[in-house]
Symmetry: C2
Subunit: 325 residues, 2 copies
């Protein structure tokens, strides 16, 4: 079956999605013109808004009918996501994101750092308005873990001895944790405690699969399909799963080339490293791991009632996996 | 009367201050070594810890006897303050703060941005543990305003037409707002709603005076007494009150020199600008404004019971003013 994003994922929550989109724009209010300009720029540059869609679907999958509060939660999730992207682009010195100039490139690093801070604060401010202490605790702990994941990634840069376990900690923090907040947050807000764990597990495994797939595409894709260049991770000396797995499966000269490429960064040996990643079976291993994570995500959903909303969440996980098949 | 910081300000809350200091160190916990290293570095590089002291004094001045929660609040305030300093140093590309290498200089901008994010998140996480929705709302709104003040400052850089009103908005956000959170937060946490406004007003006016004094010293002091160099603000083209006031009191060539110095930044005309700031009466005006703000701060305290704690808050405002007398 071919999965269509609009029809098979977005459609069941399309009207709530529109309300969410309106709320994002209303939620960004400031008397400071530069805050408004930068915030609008980065929020409008958004992608498919996967996280808020997941949040809305999770609410409906829990049996929630009134999504008024959940559309706000979904908007907050997207705002938090945008804030992390703004800071990521400063950290990575990126000039483009999804084909548009980044905030740091359009304005400067200073503006990007401070408007990112505003967006983090504003997300919390809107979250406080939802008046739910369990939700606040989940988010305040979660955002700490997201920042820690990002720092762990920085700490692991240029470290060829990074283990798969550390890699999993990094991607859990930098990617999966926000997906978890999006789905578990909906269950908390609906008072459906029995669905907190299944929805968190779904999102956590989905996020892991999503990031592993992203890291595979850095060695197999091109700018046109992904919005980033092949070899970006290698350039920065990031020990992602394709390289960790290649190191586990090679020896001698090949292993040394991969180790050295992580340690020094740069794309001097890019073609050679790609060839090693492919011939060593590393990509096969990564695909296997992404498939396992996707299956674990689907399995976690099994305890939820079988509704079009649960099916849409399943479709989202399957569609993500299709990117590498 | 000569005011001694330790004896006349710190002494009434010395034991609570020690508990606060312990809690800061305990509050910074992370499994990620780099998060710990950077956080410890920046928190230990702290100054006089004026904000947490003000928070503890405000609690006692409200009549609070059990400061267990307030020592945590005071620690959170200092952590938030540290987070803003870490990002400020990235924004200002500072290499030294209080004579010690900054986080961005010791590690790099990336690390400083992300550990700053961690400290913001961790502050909220600890704040949520205090389990007080009014306090959370005050802080979530307040941190938005702090970020907005910082962006407004950036937006006003190199703008010779910046008004005194805009200057006051900037310093309220970047400086006074956190002082307000420190004192009003104590009243909220103690459920002493009648003292919220007086304590907020005290801290707001104190913060304004404090920042105006800081901005005066940028044209009259040297690195030894202040930890920053004379002319730093001019270098960055910041339209602070000494320059805004000089522009209001000069015409012709002098006025043009000041306007141009704001527009371009740099210290090419530093000596000439200092001379204009002094001869135009701008410094006198700034001293008058700082004195007025200090008096307004003291007056706001008058409705609180006359205790050694209120007196210590008064001493703090007077001591700050002494820096320019």
């Amino acid at each position: 079956m071919t999965i269509d994003f609009k029809q098979d994922i977005l459609a069941p929550v399309a009207s709530d999605f529109a309300a969410m989109d309106t709320f994002i724009n209303e939620g960004i209010t400031s008397k400071v013109a530069l805050v408004m300009a930068v915030s609008k720029h980065v929020v409008e540059a958004g992608g498919k808004r996967m996280r808020p869609i997941m949040c809305l679907l999770a609410a409906k999958a829990c049996g929630e009918e009134n999504l008024e509060k959940h559309t706000k939660l979904a908007a907050i999730i997207e705002m938090l996501h945008t804030a992390t992207l703004v800071h990521d682009d400063v950290v990575d010195e990126s000039g483009l994101r999804r084909g548009r100039p980044t905030a740091n490139a359009t304005w400067n690093n200073q503006t990007a750092v401070l408007v990112g801070d505003f967006l983090i604060s504003r997300s919390f401010d809107l979250l406080v308005d939802l008046d739910n202490m369990s939700l606040l605790k989940d988010f305040s702990t979660g955002t700490c873990e997201i920042a820690e994941g990002e720092v762990l990634q920085l700490q692991s840069q240029h470290q060829p001895d990074t283990t798969e376990e550390t890699y999993l900690s990094i991607i859990h923090g930098k990617t999966s944790r926000l997906f978890e907040l999006a789905t578990e947050g909906s269950a908390i807000l609906s008072g459906k405690d029995q669905f907190r764990e299944p929805l968190r597990k779904y999102a956590g495994h989905f996020g892991n699969a999503f990031q592993i797939i992203d890291d595979i595409l850095d060695y197999t894709s091109d700018a046109e399909t992904l919005g980033k260049n092949i070899g970006d991770d290698l350039m920065e000396g990031k020990p992602t799963l394709p390289l960790i797995s290649a190191l586990a499966n090679t020896s001698g000269e090949e292993r040394e080339i991969v180790r050295k490429s992580i340690a020094t960064g740069g794309t001097e040996n890019l073609e050679r490293v790609i060839s090693i990643v492919q011939s060593s079976g590393a990509l096969d291993y990564c695909r296997k791991r992404a498939t396992e994570e996707t299956e674990a995500a689907l399995q976690a959903l099994a305890v939820l009632p079988n509704t079009p909303y649960r099916q849409a969440l399943e479709n989202l996980a399957k569609l993500a996996l299709n990117r590498i098949q």
